[in-house]
Structures are given as structure tokens and as C-alpha cells.
């Protein structure tokens, strides 16, 4: 069970659009952190993912465990939000 989802995005990132569209198609809500509008949160995004890439999807489960998925990867996203 998912408690909440945060997606780190940029204005020009097409893969970010895909993650948001896929979550939207499943009726799953999320918070978006746009790094172009919030560049001060870049370091946070890097520390969460260990990567310098968007989208970064941070999934917090009901037991407060977290899963991080970098990129648009349905093979990882689908089971993570199931």
C-alpha cells in the first residue's frame, strides 16, 4: 500500500511526463517537485536517488519504507505502486 509519491521533474523532461501520465491513468495521486522551479532541491533529489537524472520517483509505503525509481521504467513502477 502506498502512502505517498513524490516525483522530481524538470520542465523539458519527456520521461517525467510519461511517469505522471502513467500514474494518472492508474488514478494514483502524487506530489511533483519541479527542479527548474525549485533548483534548491536538486541536492535532495541527488541524495535520494544517487543519480543526476529525472524523473526521480520516491514512493513511500504504508510502513514508511521507501522505494526510489529513476527514469520511466514500468517494470519497476508497476510493482512498486501495486
Amino acid at each position: 500500500m502506498v502512502k505517498n509519491i513524490t516525483i522530481f521533474t524538470t520542465n523539458t523532461c519527456a520521461y517525467c511526463v510519461m511517469v505522471k501520465r502513467w500514474l494518472g491513468s492508474k488514478g494514483i495521486s502524487y506530489e511533483e517537485v519541479n527542479l527548474d522551479q525549485n533548483p534548491e532541491r536538486q541536492q535532495e533529489a541527488f541524495e535520494i536517488s544517487g543519480q543526476l537524472s529525472t524523473p526521480i520517483t520516491l514512493i513511500t509505503k504504508a510502513d514508511d519504507s521507501q522505494e526510489v525509481i529513476v527514469g520511466y521504467n514500468l517494470a519497476k513502477l508497476a510493482p512498486a505502486v501495486a
Binding site: 524538470t10 523539458t12 519527456a14 510519461m18 501520465r21 527548474d36 514500468l74
Partner: protein, 316 residues
């Protein structure tokens, strides 16, 4: 005869880039039962291109993402069903083609291969190790992490130069490494490049040999100046690679569809492949010009060829 329990369609389009979406606009508008499968980004490479300056009808140019969104909306307006999933294989079973997909097996009377191409990798030490932590293939996705940093861009074609210019929004200094003594980028882009001489330096006759880092971060790139044979070093925080394209055709290995020597799909002038009922359009097609305008044109041609094929194919 189609199996009654298996999902069956007149047309399955594999991919959802400009060629695929254009074909879908034509076929769905004429009520051809059409679904599309896209395992990556709707809009394909066009969607991750920051700016498209040469697509007709947009006098000031258009953001690649906006063009992709427009194509998607237009196709969906006529009823295109875009599935976010993957086609793993295509098998010719005569009148129907069987597609093994992430949605299960699907039968189709006609298949359009429009899977496009992806950026090639360099295949050098450090590239895999620093993937997404200093080595990147998508400037519009990852460029924002390099505000006020130093970058290396590898390549001398249109994508490399266009993306290097895009990256000047973030980076302070960009070294572009070009293997040959000239650029393959268009004259227009090369002229545009001169406006960014304060940030971008082009190094011709320079191979890219190794990406080196320390403590998990890229620190420099080692190359060779091929005119002197001497090693050269470029200090950098990240590397963006745009050295050409490779077709997305691995899933066709057992399909019977003829591929050329670099894995692109061979078609005739009407975009029919070696397997009757299987067609190809866009960047995946042998001889493609790798232009969005060409891809949309091929998508329209393929749609018309497919409509004729379906009309001439008797009902199961």
C-alpha cells in the same frame, strides 16, 4: 481464423513516435481498429528534443515535447488507443500476426513497425560506471543538474550541436568533442553554434577514450588528438553523448522481417516489409532520413498502404 479468446485488432502499431502517431491519425480517422504500444516516451526522440526548428507549419519552431503532445492529442481525438507497454515479439501466422506483449498475446491483421531509434553508446571505460551519475543521453532530462558546471558533449551531428546549445542554459563551459575534422551538423546549426562561442568550444579530430571519476563523480574525460596522437584531457562534471542512432529492432529477430546490415527494417516503396501485412515507417526503416517531417510523411503513406492491404485481405 483468430482465436476467440485472444485480443484481436485490424492494426497494431508498435511505437508512438511521429511516424506511428501520424499513421494512427489516418487509420483511426477512417475507423480502422488500431492500437499502439509504446514502451518509452510518447513522441519518441522528438519528445526529448528540446526544440524543433524545421518541422513545417511552425514558423518560430516548437518544443519537441509540445509537438509530441500535439500529435498524441490529435491521434487520441480520433480514437487511437495508446498502450503503455512493450511488444516482445512478432510472429507471422499467415492472415494474422501474433504479438507477444506486456498486455498478453494480441493478434493483428496488419502490423506497423514504428519503433524508431535510440542514441548509441560510446562503449568506453567509465561510460556504464557513471551512467546517470555523470554520463547522460538526454539533455532535456538531465541538463538541469549541471547549473554553473562544466560539461563535455560528444558528437558532431545535429543532435550533439543542438543539445550542446540547449545545455548552455545551465552549464558555464562546454567542450564538444568531434572525432572527425568536420561536423555533420547542418549549416544552420553550425551558424547558430557561433553565437555561443563564449561557452562552447569545439575540438575536432578528438576521440573520446575514457570517462574518469573520483568518489562517484565524473572528473574528466580522456581523449586522443588524432592529428598528433597525443592524449588530451578535458576536466568536466558530466558527459552528454550524442554519437548517432541505433534502430530498435531487437524484438524482430525471430519475426522473419528482413533487416539490413545495421538492423534497420527493409521495406519497398510502399513501406511493406518482407512479411506480408507487416509494414515499417520512420527512423526504424532502412534508408530513413531521420527527420520528423519524413517520419510523419511515412506514417501517412504506411496508413494508406495498410488500409489497402486490409481492404484486400478477406475477413477471417
Amino acid at each position: 481464423m483468430a482465436e476467440s479468446q485472444v485480443e484481436t485488432h485490424d492494426l497494431v502499431i508498435i511505437g508512438a513516435g511521429p511516424a506511428a502517431l501520424t499513421a494512427a491519425i489516418y487509420t483511426t480517422r477512417e475507423d480502422v481498429d488500431t492500437i499502439l504500444f509504446e514502451k518509452g516516451v510518447i513522441g519518441g526522440l522528438a519528445a526529448i528534443t528540446d526544440w524543433v526548428d524545421n518541422y513545417p507549419g511552425f514558423p518560430e519552431g516548437i518544443a519537441g515535447l509540445d509537438l509530441a503532445e500535439g500529435l498524441r492529442k490529435q491521434a487520441e481525438r480520433f480514437g487511437a488507443d495508446i498502450r503503455l507497454g512493450e511488444v516482445m515479439s512478432v510472429t507471422d501466422e499467415g492472415e494474422y500476426k501474433r504479438l507477444v506483449t506486456t498486455d498478453g498475446d494480441i493478434l493483428a491483421k496488419a502490423v506497423l513497425i514504428a519503433t524508431g531509434s535510440d542514441y548509441k553508446k560510446l562503449g568506453i571505460p567509465g561510460e556504464q560506471e557513471y551512467y546517470a551519475r555523470g554520463v547522460h543521453y538526454c539533455a532535456t532530462c538531465d541538463g538541469a543538474f549541471y547549473r554553473e558546471k562544466r560539461l563535455v558533449v560528444v558528437g558532431g551531428g545535429n543532435s550533439a550541436i543542438q543539445e550542446a546549445i540547449f545545455l548552455t542554459r545551465f552549464a558555464d563551459k562546454i567542450d564538444v568533442l568531434v572525432r572527425g575534422d568536420t561536423m555533420r551538423a547542418s549549416e544552420v546549426l553550425q551558424h547558430e553554434l557561433t553565437k555561443f562561442a563564449d561557452k562552447i568550444t569545439v575540438h575536432f579530430n578528438t576521440t573520446t577514450d575514457e570517462i574518469v571519476g573520483q568518489d562517484g563523480k565524473v572528473t574528466h574525460v580522456l581523449g586522443t588528438d588524432t592529428t598528433t596522437g597525443k592524449q588530451v584531457q578535458f576536466d568536466t562534471d558530466g558527459v552528454f553523448v550524442f554519437i548517432g542512432l541505433k534502430p530498435n529492432t531487437a524484438f524482430l529477430q525471430e519475426s522473419g522481417v528482413t533487416l539490413d546490415e545495421i538492423g534497420m527494417v527493409v521495406t519497398d516503396g510502399l513501406l511493406q516489409t518482407s512479411v506480408p501485412g507487416v509494414f515499417a515507417a520512420g527512423d526504424v526503416r532502412s534508408g530513413a532520413t531521420m527527420q520528423i517531417a519524413s517520419a510523419t510523411g511515412e506514417g501517412a503513406t504506411a496508413a494508406m498502404t495498410i488500409r489497402k492491404y486490409l481492404e484486400e485481405t478477406p475477413e477471417a
